[in-house]
Structures are given as C-alpha cells and as structure tokens.
Symmetry: D3
C-alpha cells in the first residue's frame, strides 16, 4: 500500500500551465502532485564559443531550488558561492534530455536556456523539470518560427521523464517524497514520444536490484510515459 | 500621463496570497501588479554565533530573482558563484526593515529567515518583498505561538514599503518597470503601521531632486502606505 | 551634549590633502576628524563592454577598509575571497554619487575609477569618501585636459556628502563612531554644489523616525554641505 | 569491427597493482588498457557532522584528472577554483557505489575517503575508478582490522563497474576513447559480486536506444563483471 | 651610475613613524624612499586551531597593495575574489621572518597579525614591510606587557630586510622600481640584529648569477642591515 | 648520522623515466628516492594575452599534490576552491626556473605548460619537479622541432635543482621528509648546466644561519648539481 493510496502504476495528478510568466519565450509551470517546477525557456542570439561558426544552435538547462521548496530550509546556492553536486548533476541531465527533442542544426545560431526552478518539492523534481521543460522549449521554438527567425522546424520529438522505484518490495511509479526517502531503488527514465529511451539512471539506495526488478520498473515507466506525452500534447494543442 | 494610465497617487493592484507553498512556516505570494514575489519565512532553532547566549532571536532576509523574472535573462547568481551587489543591498534592506516589525528579545533563540524570490519582475520588487515578507514573518510568529514554542508575543508593528519617484517631472507612486527605467528620481520608503519611517532611500537617477520634490514623494508614500497596511490587515484577518 | 563636545550642527575638522600619492592621476587624503580615507582616481582608456561604441566615458568607485582601520581587526576581504555586502553597498553609493559630478558624454571613452581606501575609521567613512573622491575625480579630469586627451570640460558640479542622525533625541551632524553606534537614526545625504539632492539614505537603527525629524536632519545636512563645498573649492583653488 | 580489434564482449586488459604508493592505507593502480587510475583509500577518525553520534562510519570518494591525462590539456580544477559538473557527478557515483561494498554500521566512527586520480585517460575512467577503488577500500578495511581498530568485518560484497555501449549499431563492452567519442549509446553499470545491480546509467548520445538494446548491453556488462570480480579476487588473494 | 644617483652601497632614505594610526596595538609607517608601507600589528586572544592547548602564541602577516599604489592600477584582490600568487608568497615570507623576532612560547596564547599594506610602491615593498613590521610587532608586544597580559619578554631579536641586485653588471643595494624592473638579479635578504640570516631569496631575472656575485650582494646586504637596525633601534628608543 | 644512512653529500637515488604517459608532448616521471613527481609538458598554440604579437613563446608551470601523496591526507585543492599559498609559491618557482632553460624568442608563439603532479612525497618535491620538468620541457621542444613547427633551437641550457640544509648542525644535501621536518635551515638551489645560479631560496626554520653555513650548503648543492645534470643528459641521450 502506497502512503498516498495510489496504485503501483498510477502517477500523481499532472498539470501543465503554459505562459505562466510573461517575459520568457516559453514559460510552463508543471505540477506532479505537490511538486511544482517553473520551467522558463529563454532565447539568446549566438552560441557558446566552442560552437561558433558551425551553423548550429544550442539547448542547455539550469536547475535550482528555492531555499524553502523543501521540508527544511536549504542554504541558498548563490549565497554559498557555488552550485552543489546534486544541482549540477540534475541540470546536466535535463540539458542532455532536452537536446534530444531538437535538431540543433535546424535551430540556427540561437541558444535556448531552460531554467527549471523548483517552487515546491515533493519528490520527482528532475522528472517534472524535463517533462515541463520540453513544453517550454517547444513554445520557445514556436516563438522563433512566429518571429520568422528560423524557417525550418527544429522540433524532433517529445521528451518526458518519470521516476520509478522499488518501494517496500513493490515496483511503483512516480515516487513522492515519502516513498522516495525510503525506497530500495530509484530509477529515473527519460523517454521519447516515439518509444525510445534517452536516459536510464538507476540507483540502489539500500539493497542491490535485479534484472527482473529493472524490467518491471521500465515497464511501469513506459506506461506512465504514454500519459505524460498525452498531457504534453494536450497542453500544446497537438491533439 | 502614466504609461499604465494610473493616477499619480494610485498604486497598482495589490494581492497577498498566504499559504502559497506548503513547507514554509509562513508563505506569501505578493503581487504589485505584474511584480510577483514569493516570500517564505523559515524558522530555525538557534541564532547566529554573535548572538548566542543573549536570550534573543534573529530575523534576516535573503533575496533572489529567478533568471528569467526579467525582460532579458540574467545570469543565475548560483552559477556565477556570488550574489551581486544589488542583491546584497536589497536583502540587507529587507532584513533591517523586517526586524523593525519584531521585538527580538521576545522571540526567543529562534532565527526566522525570510526568503524573497522574485518570480516575475515589473518594478518595485524590493518594496513588494518587504510588504509581503512582513505577512510571512507574522505567520511564522503565529506558528511559534501555536506550537507553544514562545509564550509572549514578539510582534511590534506592521512594516510595509512602496516606491515613489519623479516621472517626467511629476511625483508618482509605485513605479512599474517602464516608469522606473526612465524616472528622474527613485525613492523607496519603508513605513510602520504606526506612522513612523524605517528607511528612506532616494536616488537621483538623472537630475538632482529638491527638498520640495522629496516632500511631495514622501506624502505620496505615506498615503499609499495606508492602503498597504489595509491589505496586510485584511490578509491576516486583523480587521 | 555630544561626546566630542561639538555643537549639534558642527561637523568635525575637515582636511583635504591633494597629491597624497604620486602615481594616481588624482590622489586625495580626506580627513573628517579621525576618519581618514585615501581617494585615488585612476584613468584607463576604454569603457566597460556594455558602453562600448557609445562615445561616452564611465566613472566608477571601489571601497575598502584596511583590516585594522577599526577598533578590532576585520578579516581582509581579499583573504576571505569576497567583498562583503556593506562594502558593495557603499561602493555602489560612491559610484552613483560621483557620476553626478560629471557629464559622461563629454568625458570621451575613458574610465575613471576612484579607489576609496579607509586608513583609519571613526564614523562617516562613506561620506568622507564621496567628498574626497569628488576632488580626486576633478584632478583626474584636469589631468586629461592638461594632456589634451579631451577638449571639452566634463565637470558638471561639486558633489559632497555628510551624515546626520538623531543622537539621544537630538538631530546632530557628522556623527563619529561613538555617536554612530548608539544613534536612533542614521541618514547619509549626498548633495550637489548647486543645492540639489543626489542621495538620501536614512535608516531607523532603533526607533522609527518622523517626518519632522527627517526635516531637521536634512536642514543640518544642507548647512554642513555649504562648509564641505567651501573646503572642496579651497582645496581645488577655485575661490 | 572495433578500432582495437577486440571482440564485442572483450574488455581491455585489466591490471590491479596494490600498494602502489606508500602512505595510503589502501593504494591501488588500476589499468583498463591505457586508462590508468590511482585509487588511494585514506582512513580518518571521525565522521561528517551529520553522522556524529550515530555509531557508524562513512565512505566517500573524490575524483580528479591530471591536466594532461587526456589528448589535449584540460584546465586544472584547483586553478579554476572549482570542480566541474562532470567531476562532481562522477565522484558522487563512485562514492555511492563503494558504500554498497561496506556495512557502515560495522565500520565504526571512521571515514574512508577513496581518492581516484586519473593518470592517463582512454575511456572508462569512472568504471576503472570504482573497480580499483573497491580494492583500495578493502585494503583500508584490512588495515583497520590489523591495527585492531575495529573488531567485526564491515565488508559486505565486491563492487565493480564496466561501460557498455552501442558502437556503429553493435553492443560492445568496455569502450575505449575512440569508441566512446562516437558511440550512439553509453551505459555504465555497477554490479555486486553477488549478481545485483547497484547503478545503471545509460545515455543516448546520438539516437534513442530501445529496451532490446538495453538488454543486450546489460548482458554484456554482466559477463564482463565476472571477469572484473575475478581480477579483484586474484589481486586480493581471495582465491 | 644608478638612476637615482645613489652609490652602489647606499640605501634610500629610511623613515619609521610609530603610532601612525590610532587603533592598532602597533602601527608603523615605514618609508624606503618613495615606497610607503603601513604596518599594523593587531593582538587577538587565542591561537589558530592547530596550536590550541600548546601554551604558545602565534605571529602571522598579511600583505596587500592599494590598487593604485603602482604606476598603473592593479585590480583589487577583494574584487577579483582571491589573493594572487605574488601576494601569498610575500605574506608567507613576512610571517616567517617576523616569527624569528619572537619566542612564541613566551608570547602566551595570543595571535599577533601584522598587516602590511602598501600605500605607495617604488620597489622593495616586501623588505620595507618586514623592517617596519618588526617595529610594529615589538610595539604590540610592549602593549601586552604594559597591560600585564604577559609577564616574560617574548622579544628575541630585531629582524630587518633589504633587497640587493645586479644592475647593469654592478651589485647595488635597495633597488627602486626603475632598477628593479631591469636588474639581472634580485636578492632579498632577511637578517637578525645579531648577524644571522633568516631568509635569502635570490632570482636570476635575466642571466644566471655566480657565487662571486652572490657574495658581493650578501656583503652589501649585511652592511645595509646595520643601518636598518640602527633606524629600528632609534625609532624604538633603544639607543 | 642521517636517518637514511646517507653521507652528507649523497643525494638519494635519482631516476628519470621519459614517455611515462602517452598524451603529453613531454612526459617524465622523476624519482628522488621515494619522492615521485610526474612532469607533463603540454604544447598549446598561442601565448597569454600580454605577450601577443611580440613574436615570442611562453613557458609556465603548475604544481599539485595528489591528496594522499603525503603521510596524512590533505584536502583536495580543487574541492577547497583554491590553490594554497605553498602551491602557488612552488609553481611560480618552477615556472621561473624552467624559463631559464629556453630562449623564448626562438620558441615562436607557443605556450608550453609543465604540470608537475606529486604522486608520492618524501621531501624535495619542488626540486624534483624542476629537474624532471626540464627534461619534459626539452622533449616538448624536440616535438616541435620534429613536427617542423619551429626551425631554430630554443634550448639554452639544462636547469636542475636540489635541496640542501643544516640537519643537526651539519650541512647535508637532498633532505628527505624526516630530515626536512626537523632541519634548522632549508635551502633550495636552482642551477644551470653551465655553472650559474638561477634561484637560491634559503629559510631558517629554527635558528638563523651564517654566511659560512650558507657557503657550505651552496658547495654541496653545486656538487650534487653535477650528478643531476649527468642524469638529465643520460636520460636525454645527450652523452
């Protein structure tokens, strides 16, 4: 029995709110239950130095948590003078994942930065950030098209992510904080709308896990993925 | 004529939403028109080293802007490795202002940190932060009282803040971004519910200002202050 | 009765020594009683990146305290690895104030940096820095003119600053350390030689202050300002 | 055909040299072909602040690359003033993996830090670091036992790691630099000597990968794992 | 012929001004010609962590240059966020040298920090800092004795320093900036009042130097040392 | 009697291994007994900003210690966020010394960085680094010549370094850690193959030293220098 009363294969309620703030070219608030992440996609002309002159664009991500997004206040990273290892690891994951959604060669020499800032955390912030960030990214691409900055369509495929884990011996999907903090295994899966895998990051928190458990978790993730893509398509009016 | 069509003495629409996030002991979203600041008050046991053993508490504030709270994306301070001078100046101002609302001796050895994070900026973020932060601070104090952590009431007085300025030769109140970026003078005023002044910070952006202009601006601020205190009282159910 | 025996409207003895060091284009030691600040103005060709190509110059300031300028030794900011919030706040104030003395468009593409380093502190270091820094800045402008680097005169007006406060219930001018550390209110005023206000920064250290007290303090500041401008003019041989 | 001429399921030659340096309680040079990583395990009394008084120990890891371990010189992280995101991500992975080898409760209040420094890089440095670091960690545990510092045996299981990937459409094991830099998919697997999985980190570098490809890669990793555990056992004289 | 017209064995005019600032327990302005260094000795109770409980004291030094102490403005180290290699090297040298003046066991658990800040630079700032810093240190020791904080006398011997070099083929003493920037060899010598050597740091700037040249330089340094000790004794009233 | 049983004038066994790693243009492992330093010389096109357009090259060095190169683990400088004063001082010394081996004008606009990383420390790491770094530097120069990047030969002279000291009253050469940590005096000497001195850095660790002792130490260093140059020539096949 899950603390939330959810079925093993039931993700939390997912909500995507576009145009959540007014300045960003793409601005999406994504909610996985009580986890709330604001994903703002910003377009800047030009690309990082190591890409200049190659006629392609760049997509990157940054991740942050408001100090009191969590149960106890965490020190502000700007005040501590550096981003922690967890933050860097997560924002590298988000960036790699979102680049899979885009054909950088068709993007032109633009950089799109997707800022994922956690307003409230209840487990699964990185998977929510990828899922919501993809929608913000697409909105930013549409902005470039609408403004006639680019002529071809750099969009390749939807990208979404969900966590799965083994909680008290049972594989479950979309762990909330209570489950996450006592799960045996934690697996984050990033998938494409076309059925492929982009990232699989599994960690044995307590005991090692088996190939059988891994398979069961991946099955759960794939099923939940279909729901995520449906939410993304609905939010984007693609249905 | 103001760009927004407002009268010279008309502040923007002000909204205060309490319990905006679920973890913080006080959590207030304040909106001054399109300026939105999330003010989370967190209680921690103990006080900074230099106050230990004095039997008193401490109130402090931190301020941040989400990278795309503004028209163009600003570099994330956590990634740059330090808080900028503007950030430090603003959070020092917020902290000093909020301490005026509290009798630190009656607070006991608790530290209340008020995090003011700007979700969307349209001028006046520091004044909104002080005004909303005061309500979050009071909610945190009520939390301590409800939990029987403190017995006496450390609340002293309401504190609120508004900006005034000289825009195209006319004193106006609560400048939005368009006004702020072309104003001759910018004055931030922090007031108490009992009619006193806590902070007065005026800067001639273009031309020097006169004592007469200063007086006119202070008059506007005092009048707007009455509206701010009414909003705070209403939000707190003090009426 | 003030600890120093001064009248409420009497500033400390003010001394300005030009050409205090030999390398800087403008070098002024300013003394407000026992407060001693060395103000060195340095000229560099070029302007910050964001001003390039606009055909104008830039004036900025940096502020520092020698570790033992104060009663107890403060940690060296270079060793701690960052400038503190107070330092950044003060140097931003000095920079804004000194820019009011100059027509940046007439300065040409030069940057003048005014370093204000406190050799000995006894209250009022920021006001001394602004008052002395203005003279160093003017010497640097004269250097540019003497060397035929610029043809028009970018000097606009004298800028000077003084602190006022409410000490034991009475408004007084130019607070020394003893007064400053127990004053109810502290107000720093930056004025122009032509009678205008550039900055007004008032803080209630203990109790809130009233409009009447603010007016009394501003009156004192304006009167002291006349003496500051006289000292600046005499030092510069402008009389 | 692999550039090295290896079969798809053939790892590079693996060498483990114990007591490589003389000061560390465990010191192992591990070579995966031309990849050479020095793994030094250091024992310190006490545990991090957040573990104090819980009667348990701690195992952590740090990772670094000598600036010219790679084809082109990389900037020294100590000179740049911070560890990069890749470094932090890798050392967090190593630390988590090595903690699976130990029963921290039986370790007593000791901290074992395993420093993994890459002397020469040719792909697979993190997997070599985990595999060699485990042997250094065990040597450090033996040191504690030999010195009678601990009485029970905190060793739980061997931990080793290998990379697998899809290179030109074919799943291959233990990618060297040439393969790694052009692989479609890169998967790092951390396993226990008892057949469990500790970490699975797969990334689609170019195209998404399928469940079928994931399974094929995991099969390869498990087979190579048996060879790694044999090398560890032989080096430790456990056979 | 030296640019200054000095004889090869003639140091510049040396001036020592005690009680230069009012807060420090020892405060000395030392001038070697146009080189001016303010040496402030500060006493703090306690010693660094690694010396606690050993019943001895500690003497350390910090060194800084005002940004415009030199011909062209140098970036402020506090603003750059770290002390440069040259600064650290010099302050380590000053600290080691000054510790030779004191019996740390007799100092008691006090730390004396000698801040050496260069007001104006014209070559030889580190040698001036050591020579002046020794007098400030002795004044701080006298302060401890006068206040009855320590009973025995920790003073061991005078310490002073001078630079020597080979300028255009000729060994000369106390190089000023013009000589220093074109000298073949630069040697800084730290000596005790009893004739011993504390530090000898010689660097071939252009061509290698010979044992014969080294001897000639050391002879010059020893002779100048006698003058330095005479200046120190006179300043301290020890004659 | 020396702890190692060596004669006063006997350096430890010296070994130079070229081509120790495969990527660097020059890669030398140098051993002075148990002290092992890896010296990698890397060639990069271009020179630092302040040398651009002068038609000359640059040689620089960086120094690091693996955290457990020493008896007790030292904090990783990359993790602490800065290089310590000792590190900076040593790498500046190595860089200056190695530049004496090369005619920078004949090097062309190339920068050669010599990374000296201490794998195991037992005293004398900086002298080993200079001696081994010189061989790596020469290999890098040969690489440039072999690749026809430069036409003239920028090699000027061999540079090597040894430590000498006064241990229990007797001058001895090439101190190991035990001697170094209790020596009265420590002197590092950098010499050229042609008999000149490049650097002489002597420090009185306990008691001051005399000119007579200095002479005796320099004699020892010069004799050991001949052995170092013989090792370098043999390693380079110059005999």
């Amino acid at each position: 029995m899950r603390p939330s009363g959810r079925q093993a294969d039931a993700p939390r309620e997912i909500r995507l709110t576009r145009e959540y703030t007014k300045h960003a070219e793409g601005s999406v608030l994504i909610e996985f239950g009580d986890t709330k992440v604001l994903c703002n996609a910003s377009i800047e002309e030009g690309v990082p130095r190591w890409l200049r002159g190659k006629g392609q664009g760049w997509v990157t991500a940054e991740y942050g948590m408001l100090p009191r997004a969590t149960h106890t206040r965490g020190a502000r990273e700007a005040a501590r003078g550096k981003q922690g290892g967890r933050t860097l690891e997560i924002q590298r994951l988000i960036g790699r994942s979102l680049r899979a959604a885009v054909d950088l060669k068709k993007l032109g020499e633009y950089t799109i930065t997707v800022d994922c800032d956690v307003i409230q955390a209840d487990g699964g912030t990185r998977t929510a950030a990828i899922t919501g960030g993809c929608v913000a990214l697409i909105d930013a691409i549409h902005y470039l098209q609408r403004k006639k900055k680019i002529k071809t369509d750099p969009f390749r495929q939807l990208v979404a992510s969900i966590s799965v884990g083994v909680y008290r011996g049972t594989p479950v999907v979309d762990l909330d904080y209570i489950e996450d903090s006592s799960a045996d295994t934690d697996l984050n899966v990033v998938m494409t709308g076309e059925g492929g895998l982009i990232e699989v990051q599994g960690t044995a928190e307590k005991a090692a896990f088996s190939r059988v458990e891994l398979d069961a978790m991946l099955d759960l993730a794939e099923r939940a993925g279909q729901q995520l893509f449906a939410h993304q398509r609905e939010a984007l009016g693609l249905i």
